[in-house]
Amino acid sequence: MAEIAQGGGGHGDKKVRSKKASTRVDMTPMVDLGFLLITFFILATTLSKPSSMSVAVPDKQTDVKNQETEPLKASKVLTLFLGKDNTVWALDRIAADDDKAKTDLKKVSYGPDLRTLIFQSQAQVDREHGKDDKGLSQFVCVIKPLKSSTYKNMVDALDEMAVTKSKRYALVDALTDKEKDLLGDKAN
């Protein structure tokens, strides 16, 4: 198959015949090699570059007691407790110490359910309170991952904030006593 015809050497020949030099090179081994290397590079590289989500947390060092902070109105807040087995317990615009909190605590799952809930709550807050003086929504989402929740749950919840464009959200890990009472054994 692989023939590189060497034309030319016709000195000894009696009949001088101009031989047509065929310069066909068999490419098969070269193609083999090419694809072998391609396979290697495909397998050895990472194609999809991971993306990153930036998180900014409030400064712990500053003395909070000296700062005057306005308490949040419960009617503007959606609290999400991230529990075990991929469930979320949501308190929609109601404080944990409210009498109705126990019956109002909703169980939602990640994905469309959670998204719908956030959108609903957002729309409701916007209707009741309107925009603030900077023209932003007054809706606040508090994410409280419980001990049994996983890292994925937290990332999902934060991602949901990006999807629903909720600008004001907080990641809080401590539960208040009222919340502990409310959640009971779900808090573990």
Binding site: M1, D26, M27, T28, M30, V31, G34, F35, L37, I38, F41, I42, A44, T45, T46, L47, S48, K49, P50, S51, S52, M53, S54, V55, A56, V57, P58, D59, K60, Q61, L82, R115, P145, L146, K147, S148, S149, T150, Y151, K152, N153, M154, V155, D156, L158, D159, A162, V163, K165, D173
Partner: protein
């Protein structure tokens, strides 16, 4: 009369075009290649719609494995050595040049400072065995023994421009992440990145 020889006719195919394609693809893959680094543990990250890419250089990655073990890694080998020397000074642990060399080759590690010398010695004598050793993870829990905080501090001393990224596994529990976050916050690091996979945003969603 010579015996009638059937004329063999090999089907010849022109491979030139195929060869061209193969090498074109090869060139593409070589140029876009980013080699997988040898990590101490495989971590499956959750995905998010975030479109920010993880920076290539000047980055420290704190990984949380699925069993809650914490691993630490810096991208640049020179920074790794400088960081190790800083730790060696403050903790009073000595390392040989060979051990430092081995350390500079590790993308990340999860060994407590006390066991580090022994672990690196394995790498110095029998390099193949190093991968097989089960790494216990870096202690993060109590404040006195928070070695992760020490590593972060020394890494930033070695290279002050380091960005911080946390790479957690899907099933890692939240309290481990909280400890890691606590170590960062204790040093006034309040902004960091979470490394996630990429996921398509829902239809009609636009970034603003």
């Amino acid at each position: 009369m010579p015996a009638l020889k059937p004329k063999r006719n090999y089907p010849m195919m022109d491979m030139t075009a195929m060869c061209d394609v193969a090498f074109l693809l090869l060139t593409f893959f070589i140029l876009t290649a980013q080699f997988k680094s040898q990590d101490a543990a495989t971590i499956e990250t959750p995905s998010s719609i975030s479109a920010i890419k993880v920076p290539d250089k000047d980055i420290m990655i704190i990984s949380i494995g699925k069993d809650g073990k914490v691993y630490f890694g810096v991208d640049n080998p020179a920074t790794r050595v400088a960081m190790l020397e800083n730790i060696s000074q403050t903790e009073g642990v000595q390392f040989t040049d060979k051990q430092k060399k081995i350390f500079s080759l590790q993308a990340n590690f999860g060994v407590p400072i006390r066991g580090l010398s022994q672990w690196l010695q394995v790498g110095a004598t029998t390099p193949d065995k190093l991968k097989e050793i089960n790494q216990p993870g870096i202690p993060t829990d109590s404040t006195a023994q928070n070695e992760l905080a020490k590593w972060i501090y020394q890494a930033r001393r070695a290279n002050s421009g380091l960005r911080i990224a946390i790479k957690g596994d899907n099933v890692a529990k939240f309290p481990v992440f909280k400890d890691v976050m606590g170590s960062l916050q204790a040093q006034n690091i309040n902004k960091f990145n979470l490394i996630t996979g990429t996921e398509a945003p829902p239809q009609g969603w636009k970034a603003d």
